[in-house]
């Protein structure tokens, strides 16, 4: 478990009355063939909130995350993201992707492009920014992740932690309303996870709405307004980070105790 120190402390956001949730699962089901991975998920993430999905591998947490930006299509129930119903007839997947950023465990940077080109490709091609605008944008988001000096490097010249921060900057360059993080530190050496978690912590402090799948329990406790323990395709327990200190179910107690 990595314990990190953060310069900025995130103040939990209480859901406001009347506000629409940014992400809303209602009895969501998802199967891969005969295997039912999500067995009726209910979950609300309010604007400005940070939700951490935790659980053992195979619990469905990554699948739930991938459903949010349409990488996996749900088989049942209702899923609303940024006010768009993903099963509506007029649902536009590309429009959703402009508003939802995702960062993967394996970075998935474009190896043939420089850091700056990685960051500006989508803003230029999708949002039509010109060269000067996109360069200014790259400078801004690379500064946010502390990599201003690497704009002209290629991904292969960077460490894993730096590559992951570029991946975060690449998502931020689309000015998303919602950021998804799928086990973004799992492929990193322990000494590199801290720098990535600090960037995510800073984003949380800045008010970004985020859903993250993580194994970093200390981090989840620290930044998440909502910790969601998933087990066997269901939301088993959900609550504030303090819930981890006092698990109500045997499964969560075992999970926390196992040190994962």
């Amino acid at each position: 478990m990595t314990v990190i120190s953060m310069n900025s402390v995130h103040t939990p956001v209480a859901p406001q009355d009347g506000a629409q949730p940014m992400v809303s699962f209602r009895d969501v089901h998802k199967s891969f063939g005969a295997l039912e991975v999500l067995k009726g998920i209910d979950l609300d993430v309010m604007p400005g909130q940070v939700a951490a999905l935790i659980g053992r591998s195979g619990s469905g947490k990554s699948t739930a995350l991938r459903c949010i930006n349409g990488l996996e299509k749900i088989n049942g129930g209702e899923l609303t993201v940024c006010g768009r119903n993903l099963r509506a007839r007029d649902f536009e997947l590309r429009e959703l992707r402009k508003e939802v950023g995702i960062v993967f465990q394996s970075y998935n940077l474009f190896p043939h492009l420089t850091v700056e080109q990685n960051v500006t490709l989508a803003p230029r091609k999708v949002n039509g920014l010109d060269a000067a605008e996109s360069r200014a944008l790259a400078a801004e988001v690379l500064e946010q992740v502390g990599l201003s000096d690497k704009a002209l490097s290629y991904p292969e010249q960077l460490s894993g932690g730096q590559q992951q921060r570029v991946a975060i900057a690449r998502s931020l360059a689309m000015r998303p309303k919602l950021m998804l993080f799928d086990e973004v530190t799992s492929a990193l050496d322990p000494e590199l996870t801290g720098e990535v978690l600090r960037v995510i912590g800073k984003l949380a402090a800045g008010g970004m709405t985020m859903v993250l799948v993580t194994h970093e329990m200390a981090f989840a406790r620290q930044v998440a307004d909502l910790v969601v323990y998933m087990h066997q395709g269901r939301v088993w327990e959900a609550g504030k980070g303090t819930m981890l200190d006092d698990p109500q179910t045997v499964e969560l107690r075992q999970f926390v105790g196992s040190g994962l």
Partner: protein, 216 residues
Amino acid sequence: MLGVSIDQYGFLVQGAFWTIVLSLMGFVGGTIVGLPVALARISRGWFLCRVSSAYVQFVQGIPLPVIMFVVYFGVSIYGFDVNALVAAAIAMTLYSSAYLGEIWKGCIQAVPKTQWEAGECLALTSVQRFIYVILPQALRIAVPPTVGFLVQIVKNTSYSVVIGFFDLTYSAKILNNATFKPFVIFTAAALIYFAICFPLSRYARRFELRLHRRNA
């Protein structure tokens, strides 16, 4: 030199010139037809995929000399008088497009699926993803096998001898009839083929090594 005059060696070089011309035509034609074939092979459209797959299997299942005959004699039946160069170029185009299409299909598929996914999540359209993300990476992968296949193209142009196209092999055959020095003449022809192909093989190998080093 070895009972063959300088002029006669010059005759071989003339043949070699046409071998190179035909090779280039085969490669250019093969690229023009092969690229769409590769794209059709990976397309999600059922029809395009089937048709291109059938094309590749059909062409690959026919020996190149037979393709040459079919194009050369087959077309003239319908009243078009094709000369040997045109017929040979069409046959080489058919042949190389089927193989290049298959090679390039593999190169496009060699780019990790997660690259498509990353592009998709950034709201790039499928065409944008292909042009800006996949194609540049596939091209880099494609250089060694493509240059390698050029060697096959150069060697296989020799089949155009069956329709009487004047290339290196054909000029050697004529020269042999005139001089009765088959060993000298065909050895000379072999050396010329080798001189054309060897640098290509070396280039392919060097590109391959560079690629491996980059990926290491």
